[in-house]
């Protein structure tokens, strides 16, 4: 029913193994297991490294642009390398020098060694030695390592102040210009005749490729939701399915059922689970009255990082109940949380108004306000702002048990028991 929100965080054994194998095979087929073809980049005789790398970056960027624009992929949830300008510059310079001396980089040396190349094996052994040396001596310049130009998760669109799609379009245009330059350099410095697999393909095909790249650049330029806005796009994408779910009221938990959750009771019996109450009402409503242990938030905040947080693995098995004064605003918050990929999300049926109808006024037959009556404002009057310091902020467990046992208030249980948590993934290298 609901679409899984990418990324899927499949970090077991098989997925990384298959991705690694595809990576290794692609490097091998691209000629990256041969130091001579790699080092040729710096001799200007063959610019295969530049062509493969920038075609890969452009291809991946265009896929990301497409996937985020239609809401399949949440860019904010991707692991974007944090920036340390100092270590990137110094490390990059050293790495480039090592490239010319040794003829490989770590990934390509693995491929080279795995295809029997002795120089690749020596290089890989060297990488091990270098990594060892850094681990033993890096502590001496730890301050530089930790702080040199540390900017955190920052992207080119952030620093340039341009939309994601515009930056992608600029990268595509830059790449096409570099490819044309690379072809010219190869004609000037390359061997004659050029190796069979380095000759430019059929010119018509090459022109078609350039044209396709430029069209892709224009499309990226015009993609407003690229590189973000994924959640809003997903809410739109999921709207028909969510409309049906909300109309069927299968995620609307009755006040009595939620009162049980406060006492860790489910279906009239104790249960083990973690509960999150998200209150999306205005501060004035919150101040006058709110449920004990509720967390104040807003729909806007749930659209951003905070919503993403409730959807992440730490809270995967928490039961989350969204509270509004009535239901409309809470349902918007529910749509966002589900679009972020959160599970076990419910809406307090009738909102805080119905809660107070039942527990404060004792109207056990009260129903959620509908139509024009549902104003999404607090209709119960309070002499002063007492917040959660009122008995109805946490009706006692005896009241709950009595209401369930005597069936004094009729309701359909909606909250499902939560099963075991999924295993957390490993860290980044």
């Amino acid at each position: 029913m609901t679409l899984a929100l990418a990324p899927l965080h499949l970090d077991g054994f098989l997925v990384p193994l298959l991705l690694g194998a595809a990576f290794g095979a692609t490097l091998e087929r691209s000629g990256f297991g041969d130091a001579r073809r790699l080092a040729a980049q710096f001799m200007l005789t063959e610019l295969r490294v530049l062509k493969v790398m920038f075609t890969a970056i452009v291809t991946c960027l265009l896929w990301i642009t497409l996937a985020t624009s239609v809401g399949w992929l949440d860019f904010g949830a991707l692991a974007v390398n944090p920036t340390w300008l100092g270590t990137a510059a110094v490390g990059g310079l050293l790495l480039g020098m090592g490239f010319v001396v040794g003829g490989y980089c770590p990934g390509t040396s693995i491929v080279s060694a795995a295809t029997g190349k002795v120089d690749g094996m020596f290089f890989l052994a060297g990488v091990g030695a270098g990594v060892f040396a850094f681990g033993e001596t890096g502590g001496a310049f730890r301050t530089f390592y930790d702080t040199a130009g540390a900017l955190g998760r920052v992207t080119l669109p952030d620093v340039l102040g341009l939309p994601f799609g515009v930056v992608v379009a600029l990268v595509v245009v830059m790449a096409v210009a570099m490819f044309l330059g690379a072809e010219a350099l190869e004609r000037r410095f390359g061997p004659t005749p050029a190796p069979a697999d380095a000759r430019p393909g059929r010119p018509r095909l090459a022109r078609a490729g350039v044209l396709a790249a430029l069209v892709a650049a224009v499309v990226a330029f015009a993609a407003p939701a690229a590189g973000g806005g994924a959640v809003e796009a997903r809410v739109g994408l999921l709207r028909p399915a969510h409309d049906a779910t909300l109309a069927a009221r299968t995620v609307h938990a009755d006040p009595v059922e939620v009162a049980g959750l406060l006492h860790r009771e489910l279906g009239g019996a104790p249960a083990r689970f973690h509960l999150v109450l998200l209150d999306v009402r205005d501060p004035s409503s919150w101040n006058r009255f709110h449920l004990e242990d509720a967390t104040p938030t807003t729909v806007a905040r749930l659209a951003g990082d905070e919503g993403r947080r409730w959807a992440d693995a730490r809270w995967a098995t928490s039961i989350k109940v969204v509270l509004g004064d009535d239901e409309a605003r809470a349902e918007e918050a529910w749509r966002l949380l589900v679009a972020h990929g959160a599970r076990h999300v419910y809406v307090l049926a009738g909102g805080v108004n119905l809660w107070l109808d039942v527990f404060k006024d004792g109207r056990l037959d009260a129903a959620p306000a509908r139509g024009a009556a549902a104003t999404d404002t607090l209709r119960h009057a309070f002499a002063s702002s007492l917040g959660a310091r009122l008995p109805w902020a946490r009706p006692d467990v005896a009241t709950y048990r009595r209401l369930v046992a005597t069936k004094a208030r009729a309701f359909t249980p909606r909250v499902a028991p939560v099963t075991k948590a999924v295993a957390a993934s490993g860290g980044c290298g």
């Binding site: 990324p7 899927l8 990384p16 991705l19 690694g20 194998a21 595809a22 990576f23 290794g24 095979a25 692609t26 490097l27 087929r29 691209s30 130091a35 493969v52 790398m53 890969a56 960027l61 992929l73 390398n81 920036t83 340390w84 270590t87 990137a88 110094v90 990059g92 310079l93 050293l94 480039g96 090592g98 010319v100 001396v101 040794g102 490989y104 980089c105 770590p106 990934g107 295809t115 029997g116 190349k117 120089d119 690749g120 020596f122 052994a125 060297g126 990488v127 091990g128 030695a129 270098g130 990594v131 040396a133 681990g135 502590g139 130009g149 900017l151 992207t155 590189g227 993934s425 290298g429």
Partner: protein, 173 residues
Amino acid sequence: MKRPGPGRYWNPYVGGAVLGTVLFASFLLTGHGLGASGGVARVVVAAQKVVAPDHVDRTALLAELGGGTRDPLDAWVVVGILGVALGGAASGLLAGRWRLETFRGPRVPVRTRWLLALAGGTVMGFAARLARGCTSGQALTGGATLAVGSWVFMLAVFAGGYLVAWPLRRLWK
């Protein structure tokens, strides 16, 4: 169709498009990109942990990967480099390129080439740890997510390479 074999590789633009799609699949399925040097670093720390576990616990840069009860090998990037080796070997075998040999410039003797590979690898292993990634995990992966540090790194790699390319041209020409 061209016959595969030594020196018959994919058109670089085709290879790049496939590589970019594999990278995107990684983002879609796992939320992160690809890596190589991080896997080597973890294997080295795992070996150090066998020999001198106390030293790993006391050295901050090692403890981050394998201190205490941490298993340095319990990470996607370690599985990833295993996959790179398997995928690379399979592709080389199928293309008839698996052979025990040494790739070198025309003027460089075999043993000299081995020493140069060892030296270049050492510099690169050190640099990759300093930069928190190599051409795979930093330039390619970070480049495709428009990370600022990764683009700086990429420019620096090309700058560093071209800086020494002229004096070292006899290694490859």
